[in-house]
Symmetry: C2
Subunit: 497 residues, 2 copies
Amino acid sequence: MKNLAQLLFALFTLSSLAQDTIHLKSQVRHSIEELRDFVSIPNDALDHADINLNLNWLTKKFNARGFNSTILPTEGESLFFAALPMDDAKPTILFYMHFDGQSVDPAKWDQPNPYEVVLKSKDGDGWKKEAFEDLNENIDYDWRLFGRSTSDDKGPIIMFLNAVDLLQKEGVEIPFNIKVILDSEEEKSSKPLPKAVKEYRELLEADFLIINDGPVHVSEKPTVVYGCRGITTLSLTTYGPINPQHSGHYGNYAPNPGFQLAQVLASMKDTSGKVLIDGYYDGISIDEATMQVLKSVPDHAETINENLAVKTPEKVGGFYQEALQYPSLNIRGLGSGWIGEKSRTIVPESATAELDLRLVPETDGTRLKNLVKKHIAQQGFYILDSVPDKDLRMMHDKIMTVKEGSVTDAFRTDLDNTYGNFLVNTLKKKFGEDVVQVRIMGGTVPIAPFINELKIPAFIVPMVNPDNNQHSPNENLKIGQIAYGIQVFYGILSSSL
Amino acid sequence: MKNLAQLLFALFTLSSLAQDTIHLKSQVRHSIEELRDFVSIPNDALDHADINLNLNWLTKKFNARGFNSTILPTEGESLFFAALPMDDAKPTILFYMHFDGQSVDPAKWDQPNPYEVVLKSKDGDGWKKEAFEDLNENIDYDWRLFGRSTSDDKGPIIMFLNAVDLLQKEGVEIPFNIKVILDSEEEKSSKPLPKAVKEYRELLEADFLIINDGPVHVSEKPTVVYGCRGITTLSLTTYGPINPQHSGHYGNYAPNPGFQLAQVLASMKDTSGKVLIDGYYDGISIDEATMQVLKSVPDHAETINENLAVKTPEKVGGFYQEALQYPSLNIRGLGSGWIGEKSRTIVPESATAELDLRLVPETDGTRLKNLVKKHIAQQGFYILDSVPDKDLRMMHDKIMTVKEGSVTDAFRTDLDNTYGNFLVNTLKKKFGEDVVQVRIMGGTVPIAPFINELKIPAFIVPMVNPDNNQHSPNENLKIGQIAYGIQVFYGILSSSL
């Protein structure tokens, strides 16, 4: 008898699991269709009309799930806000995602239109196109959807909506009040956000904030992130002759702006990638307890390096998590004259380096920019923030135009926190495995205005695959991550604190 | 009586001079119309059809002046050849010019179409558009014609044709046989030329060669040049992650190709512009007599530097002429990721520097390229000539793709030479002033194949203004230089050895 009971229980459990799997797969199929539709609306925040089309789409989709939604005007593009009917007895979660995307250069993509999702499977070192109809037979969780914002960050919005679908189909009561704020200028540093959060503070009030942006840990395990690096930018331009000159007539006479730029850039870092600028890492100290948390993250250096196809990474930290505790100094762009087929035999008139500096809570963006400027001045450069005129060029041997970008602050929530513990435990239960706890992630979400204004703990619960080519050509989302994201949202929205 | 005779003689001379001036001005007007027509045919040697249209135009114009012309097929674009009827008793001059031009990027020009000549006058620091009709009233020799190849090198061809017109109008007998060879791929390094000169050696045979390309000395005095630097190129590419990565997630972990490139470039030169690569200047020694010739060139460093808007030039030589006795190492282009408005927050996958190396007779191009490659290898780079695959990237920390361009040799004719003396004396007599003798000019004309094959002395007799923006946007020709060029050709073609 005991054995029969066990058998029946096991069969029941299995069939219930099988049932779950079937529901989930069907919801994943629905998500893919909805994501193709969403991605087909271009979302470069430089185009106001496109942003409005996205707002219309979101209104329709959230309202269909019973949300009350509204468009919040700002100094820039409008924000999207939605909430389920409120119950004062329940604690409130505010979810933050964004629907705008980085600009695209279709020539650099392996598909004609980055806004038309293409389904692909691995094919050796490359990718093979697949037909969407084949997903009706069976869903291969390793196949991927290629298109702008599939991962960053339209994918997670779709996962959220489809988790709500599942909860509603199953009649599960959500033990929280749910508010959702969707940003329209995240890829342009969310400039209108600080003022908007101040203005709509009451509407946004919540007990804690969950941001769904960026990739899960490279191990693809469930991940909770307690902070993220900030960002600021610098644009550096050096000068040669006032007009480009024939390199025969003036080569090794007219100063070359490329060499000047190379020399100042080379002086900023040692060959291992450590910043040599005085004071750049000041204020950062990692105690033994923190180091243990950093080391507990199951990074496989071999996997990361293999994905990047890099033999030895930079040596700012001894390992990946330690590196992220420090600010970065990255050359994101270089330009002077022309390269490749278009090259011409000239001494160019200028050379430009675009830098981005990722910030940590200890390293204020304005302070770091000033350190870089001081370093440049110490190399003998006269610094100004515009293009020098002829008189200035005749007065100074080395001139640099330095243009400063705005600062988005870093943030870090304490590792030991009620809401953090709730998230970690929920994910642990849902997936039956250890949750990766990341003290600070490398990327930037513009969360500081929320934290500064609403004074609530904030966490990032990322959804997408680490190798998604975010911000680059051939951005993609692994289908398995859609299933993961739906389950994460389902878990959070169906568990009690 | 004596006074009257003197007076009459003076009046006669004056009126003859006035007559000459009127004829010259009328010929300059004709030249401007002919140059506008010639420039209106695009001449980028990447476009075969355009080159053919230019060949047709040249055939018509030379034949109209009594030349026998022919198109010489080569492995690339065809050459144009023309000769006046030969007389075995006369010595033969071979003139070399070219009718192809550098590619244009119309967006960088201050006029809509670089192939439609625009007439301009100085207006403060800028330029003011003028109407061509105003030239009928009076010709201002300071006004300029803006358009691709006005100076480099269609202008000199027009000056030659119009000098022949003048000689023919005045019934002057030319004491030389005249051959003209016009290149169609000079701006693409004249790759087909060596083989073509070999093939058409008999047709091209001459006593000496005159090249009409490049600008006169910066003093705008009559100039004879005895040599020119050669050229070769190198394209250097460094590598970061195999795909561009989000600069937040991988900034200060994934190696940055821009810093790698900056470090290797910075190691190639000191801050004064001197090349630090071992052996780069080997074999060059300037004796006292040569130094005196170099110093006799009336360079005004202040004027050159003011034109370039440069406080201190590079220090390879102590002065401009000395600098040109050395090979150059010029960064003509830099590229990585994107700059300006298009900047994205990525760690780019690669960074490229385009270099050109101007050569002197002592520094063989292949030897210099090997020295640069050796230097790069000494900085720890694994060098290959293609894009590294993933396996190679995982095997080497620093990889550089080095692509080598072809070599065009430098040349230098001895300063003391019968034909050189003839040219200098002719110009001295014609303009009544000292002639600037340049031992070697900075730019490159692909003259080596002629010299190696025909074994004749070669000279460059340049025609155009030094500030002509050759190879760059807003290339231009001063109208006064047209008058100068017509007079130079007239002088050479009407004087005896």
